[in-house]
Symmetry: C2
Subunit: 145 residues, 2 copies
DNA sequence: TTGACAGATGCAACCCAGTTGCAATAATAT
DNA sequence: ATATTATTGCAACTGGGTTGCATCTGTCAA
């Protein structure tokens, strides 16, 4: 389970662990916290660029890799073309993805999660230790219907 | 819901719908039915090659696209690098993927599916029509633990 | 059996998300 | 101010997947 933290707290946390607070890192983190939705590396680069901050794509990919390793950002597989990234919130949630317009909504899956916890202990008895899961829903949103 | 069919029945079905039974198509379909597990385009090409059947990767990708469109093959997102494909069986199922050795097992998710059906009707009330979902579990298999 | 049509194929070039190696830069501690 | 080392930019690369187009080949009707 991940702490619920703000962008500033995260920056301080990183700093106290020997990480440096560069313009790029700060901007990527702030953007991820601000949008609070699954975004792509391209989205991030574009946003920083619009702010007048020139950051190389390699830097962004490395920063994302780093934040995922630090468990403060999750990879979200909602497109088969490109990876999305989202701040790890306290509440484990999943998404409704519209196949037509691509919009993304969060959805409450607590009842489903409860069944998955049972499944988890069941397969643990069979020798498989589940560590995490992917779950995304696809369909048509209210606006596109 | 998809008919439970064999490779031969599928071929006949395709033929009766104006499709041609080429060596490549037949071989791809037979392989997918034989392995009955999520495989990649590369796996397929390799298998055909080992059988002495030279098939271009473009052909394989086009065949997979076609079979997905025909609803007899599903795309399975268990790797962020490469897409997997699997014959659509009557029983809707999901997978346990070992993060260490990459092995894939099927898992019974019927209880989870029941909760997802409830979720589905709940979000339908909110205007979102769910069409399909992705669900895969990741962790460590019995052999790798 | 033959010929023609349209589906299927191969090829080469391409697209694009993501990665790598390495030299240069810059944030921090002293 | 300086040394240390994390971070960055660049350019080239990787690899899954796609596209356009000329060619081929299953299929079927005559």
């Amino acid at each position: 389970m991940v702490m619920q933290i703000s962008a500033e707290k995260l920056c301080l946390h990183l700093k106290s662990h020997g990480r440096r607070l560069t313009k790029a890192r700060r901007a990527v983190i702030e953007y991820l916290f601000k949008v609070s939705a699954p975004v792509t590396a391209v989205d991030i680069i574009e946003n920083l660029h619009n702010k007048g901050l020139q950051v190389n794509k390699t830097t962004v990919y490395r920063e994302l890799e780093f934040l995922v390793k630090m468990n403060v950002v999750n990879e979200v597989s909602i497109s088969k073309q490109i990876m999305h990234y989202e701040v790890s919130h306290l509440d484990h949630h999943h998404h409704l993805v519209c196949d037509k317009c691509g919009c993304i909504q969060e959805v409450d899956t607590s009842a489903v999660e409860m069944e998955m916890t049972k499944l988890e202990s069941r397969v643990l008895g069979l020798g498989f230790k589940i560590d995490h899961h992917n779950l995304e829903f696809f369909g048509t949103c209210a606006d596109c219907k």
